[in-house]
């Protein structure tokens, strides 16, 4: 196993709905190695997205710990977690979540502007723009740079979203059903892109999916049910089909 990049230990999370407490994660252990690709499978409602949000430091667990490079991060301040998220973690969502007012090139640039001061950016615009353009080229969208999200297809939007996640040079990308909204052919293209990025840049991926075929392309497959990890093993040895829900 590679060096652990991210380690989650006994994470629990419940949501308060009125007076009743709904337990969603009931003690999850998960380790992601540097440069590793991990597929997260599980039935709908198993708590995959919730786990992703916790690992991405968007929310805090009720109990348990999350460490990055052996440093605990779940108890950091909101501000510190925001900086860490920006530097080290990228998000890719099922519904792309691009900023509709910005064209593709600007959406990608935005990913680099979170902790750059206004004056620094004004003095450095060309460089950031060039990096964004290079990333758009890498995801194969050079000729769509000036299009707004509404003028792009689903697959193209997801490519823009991936380029946006890449510009901050993260070590881990958390992708919540990145192909869930795409036809299988387009999905295949997106996955090829993700795995290429993984190979070329050594970025680790945690991919939530309902697609067992996709899961098998990853280094490891983790299965969840009812807020627990029920299976965690190398993709080559794991029974890929068992327990996986069909795509919604």
């Amino acid at each position: 196993m590679t060096t652990p990049l991210l380690e989650a230990r006994s994470i629990t999370k419940s949501f308060q709905l009125g007076r009743t407490e709904i337990p969603v994660l009931r003690g999850v252990d998960l380790t992601i190695g540097r440069g590793e690709t991990v597929a997260l499978l599980g039935t709908s409602g198993a708590g995959k997205s919730t786990l992703l949000h916790l690992l991405g430091l968007l929310d805090r667990p009720n109990d348990g710990s999350i460490s990055f490079d052996d440093q605990r991060v779940d108890d950091l301040s909101t501000k510190e977690r925001a900086r860490l998220r920006h530097r080290r973690i990228g998000f890719v969502f099922q519904f792309y979540h691009l900023i509709p007012e910005l064209d593709a090139l600007r959406n990608v640039q935005l990913g680099a502007l979170m902790d750059v001061g206004l004056w620094e950016w004004l003095g450095n615009r060309g460089a950031i723009k060039a990096r964004a353009a290079a990333l758009l080229e890498e995801v194969g969208l050079t000729d769509r740079a000036r299009h707004r999200p509404a003028e792009l297809s689903g697959g193209e939007r997801q490519r823009v979203a991936i380029a946006r996640a890449l510009i901050a040079e993260p070590e881990l990308i958390l992708a919540d059903e990145p192909t869930g909204n795409l036809d299988s052919e387009t999905a295949e293209g997106i996955l090829d892109l993700l795995f290429r990025i993984n190979r070329e840049r050594g970025i680790a991926f945690l991919l939530v999916t309902h697609d067992p075929a996709l899961a098998r392309r990853c280094d490891r497959i983790v299965r969840m049910r009812d807020g627990r990890v029920v299976d965690d093993g190398l993709a080559t040895t794991a029974p890929a089909t068992e327990g996986a829900a069909p795509p919604a």
Binding site: T3, L58, D59, S67, D69, K79, A82, R85
Partner: protein, 498 residues
């Protein structure tokens, strides 16, 4: 895939300080704002508020400084008033003029009278209170406050006599000549009126009364029409145990009217010479009676402080031995600066301006509400984007700054637009007014009402700065609440927002 030591970065890298103003906040603020035209309504609101505050206050201030200028023409630097009715001007004057800062003094005597217009029936021989000879049309009787002045001394103290409007045919006149109607002129007038002088009859120059221009016009008098002044007083003697009423009267001729910037003065006052008022009308004996006055107008050296001089003169009057002897109970007398003389009037216009500012500030609050509503709407519309930005690593203070910047951009645009249009409207107001009058037949400002040739204005730079800063502050407060709401959104919930 073993990482090299450099690649293995510790979780807490030496952090760069977080930027005070992150680039993405400005980047998004502008795009969010211009994405929908409705978002610019706050800009319009602020601009209207700033515009109104600048234009209305500039006109008001111009108006006030006009009024003050007008008041200044007729009001001496200092005025000694509440003088005992039997005091001698000479005695008081000596005390006042002893002060090094007093440049000049002028006596004034106030009295009240009715005046009667003479029609073609000729010279009146006096007031005949129950005679049918006098026209009883109400418009032929009017009440006026007479001010008796010494023309040659008055010009040393105020600009009042410079405001006399001489008919074009008149040559320049000395101050005294303004109050004398030459005999030939009266002769001509009488001939035109149909009761010429008899053969061998000659008329010397006659005393003039000077009216304010508005009254002059309203009373439909003309130069050198003859008028009778009438008044009455109770000298103190008794008839059948009741105080006796003595009537007073004097014939005068209408002289050239004066037109000062002080409307109230012009409307209510008429000028005579002190001698005519005191001796001929009130019946004082030039040689036996004291030279009574009701006020002394005082001109002070321009660089002197009015309050200091005022205090010193009051002390000097109180300490004067002659006055102490004459008035063992105290001389009394009250000295007023030119502002105090017109306190009620000046306060009233100042109050009006202050009220106006308050009313207009309400416009500003409406504008602030528009900014608030715009941003509130924007935050709701952009909730999911806020979640996405947070996922991308935006801090909550960064999110706060997006919407504060949006508010800031709205305020700056509104302020810029408001100041620009405000100043432009003020500078071109008179042109615009002339145009609307010529083309559309209405005036933006009732110039006639205020007897103004053009709309006065005065731009106080400090006020413009205050308005601009006020608008920025108000928008900042209005932007703060929605921005804070955005910053406090839970990222996970924001992401799930539809």
């Amino acid at each position: 895939m073993d990482p090299s030591p450099e690649a293995h970065r510790p979780a807490a890298r030496t952090p760069r300080p977080a930027p005070l103003f992150p680039a993405f906040a400005a980047f998004l603020a502008v795009r969010f704002l211009f994405a929908r035209r409705i978002n610019l309504i706050g800009v319009v609101g602020i601009a209207v508020g700033v515009w109104a505050l600048i234009v209305v206050v500039a006109v008001f201030s111009g108006f006030i400084s006009d009024i003050r200028g007008g008041i200044r023409q007729v009001s001496p630097d200092l005025l000694l008033t509440e003088i005992p009715s039997d005091a001698s001007f000479e005695q008081i004057d000596a005390v006042l003029r002893a002060d090094a800062d007093v440049v000049a003094t002028a006596p004034r005597l106030r009295y009240h009278a009715l005046y009667f217009k003479h029609g073609a029936w000729g010279s009146s021989s006096g007031v005949r209170t129950s005679s049918g000879d006098i026209s009883k049309q109400a418009s032929d009787y009017d009440f006026v406050e007479l001010i008796g002045i010494d023309p040659s001394r008055e010009v040393e103290v105020t600009d009042l006599l410079q405001q006399v409007l001489l008919p074009q045919s008149w040559e320049t006149r000395s101050p005294e000549e303004l109050f004398e109607i030459p005999g030939e002129m009266i002769q001509v007038w009488r001939s035109l009126e149909g009761f010429p002088l008899g053969p061998g009859e000659a008329i010397g120059s006659r005393p003039a009364i000077l009216f304010g221009y508005d009254r002059f016009r309203r009373s439909r008098v003309e130069i050198p029409q003859q008028l009778s002044l009438a008044s009455a007083h109770f000298p103190g003697d008794l008839i059948d145990g009741a105080p006796a009423l003595h009537s007073l009267s004097k014939d005068v001729h209408v002289g050239a009217p004066f037109h000062t910037g002080h409307r109230v003065f012009d409307e209510t006052k008429a000028l005579l010479t002190l001698d005519v008022l005191r001796d001929d009308f009130l019946g004082y004996d030039r040689f036996l009676d004291p030279d009574v006055v009701s006020d002394v107008a005082i001109r002070v050296r321009p660089d002197a402080d009015l309050e200091t001089v005022k205090q010193r003169l009051a002390d000097a009057l109180a300490a004067d031995e002659g006055l102490q002897k004459a008035y063992p109970e105290g001389f009394g007398g009250l000295i007023l600066t030119w502002e105090e003389q017109n306190e009620v009037y000046l306060d009233a216009v100042d109050q009006e301006r202050a009220m106006m500012k308050i009313v207009l500030f309400a416009v500003m609050l409406v504008a602030a509400f528009l900014v608030y509503a715009t941003l509130h709407m924007l935050v709701t519309q952009k909730t999911r984007e806020i979640g996405v930005l947070t996922a991308m690593g935006a801090s909550s203070s960064g999110v706060l700054k997006i919407f504060l910047s949006t508010g800031g951009v709205i305020a700056l645009l509104g302020c810029g637009l408001g100041v620009a249009t405000g100043l432009a409207s003020v500078f071109w107001m008179n042109d615009l007014d002339t145009w609307t009058q010529a083309r559309l037949g209405f005036s933006l400002f009732p110039r006639e009402l205020y007897a103004l040739d053009e709309i006065p204005y005065s731009i106080e730079p400090w006020w413009v700065v205050q308005v601009a800063l006020g608008a920025l502050a108000v928008s900042a407060v209005a932007a703060w609440l929605p921005a804070r709401r955005a910053a406090h959104l839970q990222p996970v919930r924001a992401l799930a927002h539809e």
